[in-house]
């Protein structure tokens, strides 16, 4: 079969009823439906995540402002600071997700910008997720140290050994979570990044 025959078949297929234009109403219904693209889905999920974090952080902050006669209002401030950090983190993520879509660009530049944005997104995810652990543990330490909160009856981290143990455990937890995050992120986006790289190599080569 010659390639000209392929062209012939292609032309024939274009005349099939399946290729007939859809009705105006059907098209209008389609554009009113939620965007099915993956990036739009990710942005919707991100919004839900922001809402949840804000609701939880606000509830906890309000609780500690009111409860215990306001003696633990520092906890509220810590949660407010963490929520502010999260807001910045989500803002950056959203900005990167926006950059990932340029449907009107040529295919190669679109793939290129998508790959760059996705790599930055993944790095932010990994760094943000990992940095959160020591930040929270440091905040807890400050609370325990200065507000004299005992998590466990024998957990005295004010002494040299207690502090060393706390730092060692925090470091171990941070490293473990770093590897967990790396594995999880690769599971989520690794294959797609590889695929984008392959396609770009193929286009450039």
């Amino acid at each position: 079969m010659e390639l000209e025959l392929l062209k012939e078949i292609w032309e024939e297929s274009g005349k099939k009823p399946a290729n007939a234009p859809a009705s105006g109403d059907a098209i209008l219904r389609m554009i009113k439906k939620a965007d099915l693209s993956m990036v739009s889905g990710m942005r919707r999920n991100l919004l839900i995540e922001v809402m949840l974090v804000l609701i939880c952080a606000t509830a906890i902050a309000v609780f500690y402002f009111v409860a215990f006669n306001g003696q633990l209002r520092e906890v509220s401030w810590i949660y407010i600071i963490i929520a502010a950090g999260f807001l910045f983190y989500y803002y950056r993520k959203n900005a990167l997700l926006k950059k990932m879509q340029c449907p009107v660009c040529d295919v190669r530049s679109n793939l290129d910008s998508q790959l760059k944005a996705l790599e930055k997104y993944v790095r932010l995810y990994l760094v943000g997720g990992t940095a959160l652990v020591p930040a929270v543990l440091a905040a807890f330490y400050i609370l325990i140290r200065y507000k004299h909160i005992m998590i466990l009856p024998f957990s005295n981290i004010n002494t040299g050994w207690g502090l060393a143990l706390y730092i060692a455990l925090s470091a171990m937890l941070t490293v473990t979570l770093f590897f967990f995050h790396r594995w999880y992120i690769f599971k989520l986006y690794g294959r797609h990044i590889q695929r984008l790289k392959q396609m770009l190599e193929e286009m450039n080569g």
């Binding site: 297929s13 290729n19 859809a22 099915l36 990036v39 449907p103 009107v104 660009c105 040529d106 295919v107």
Partner: protein, 222 residues
Amino acid sequence: MSCGFLYRELLCGSSNSAGKANSQKNSQPEYHCSVNVTFLCFGLLIYLQHITPLTTDNIQQHFLETLRQHTGILHKVCRVYCHTAEDRQDMFQEMVAQVWKAFPGFRNEAKISTWIYRIALNTAISDFRKQQRKISTVALAAGEISAIYSEETTTQEERLALMQQAIDRLSDVEKALVMLYLEDKSYEEMEDILGISQGNLRVKMNRIKEKLRKNVAGYEKE
């Protein structure tokens, strides 16, 4: 002349005339002023209420008309990249949504068909979910394929399935190139759509043609 004065002049007439009116009729200039402002705001509101739906309607009509002329492009891209009717429907909807979102930004800098090809191919190629989409594994047996070739009464559906199988063996980028080749697009237009230089495109097209010939010849021998 200060801006405040100009504003007063425009809305309430001159301050002198307002003063005269004030002394003559004992009326309040602020009242006239607020009447004028209210009148202007009201007029603006009516204008906006009328103009906004009209503009949206016009854009919608223009969009529908454009899409009606070029729906074939979207269907063809869907057929090349998707294997089930459900996937094709999803992808078609996604492409329509992307065209609609980008439509107000179209500035006639490129041909509308080139612009739609870009959107359609970008949507199809960079789709995350495609990894999860199941590629048709119902390949025709070698005997069936040779039967398709030998019979002169080959139906259109069978010929189409055969072409689909030959294209399925190509990578996503190669599929885009083949599709544009089958659509008789010039190298210049291909470059506009794909962003690959014309020299590179020529080399790639030769390789792909060879690959397609081999794919098809493989079926014929079997």
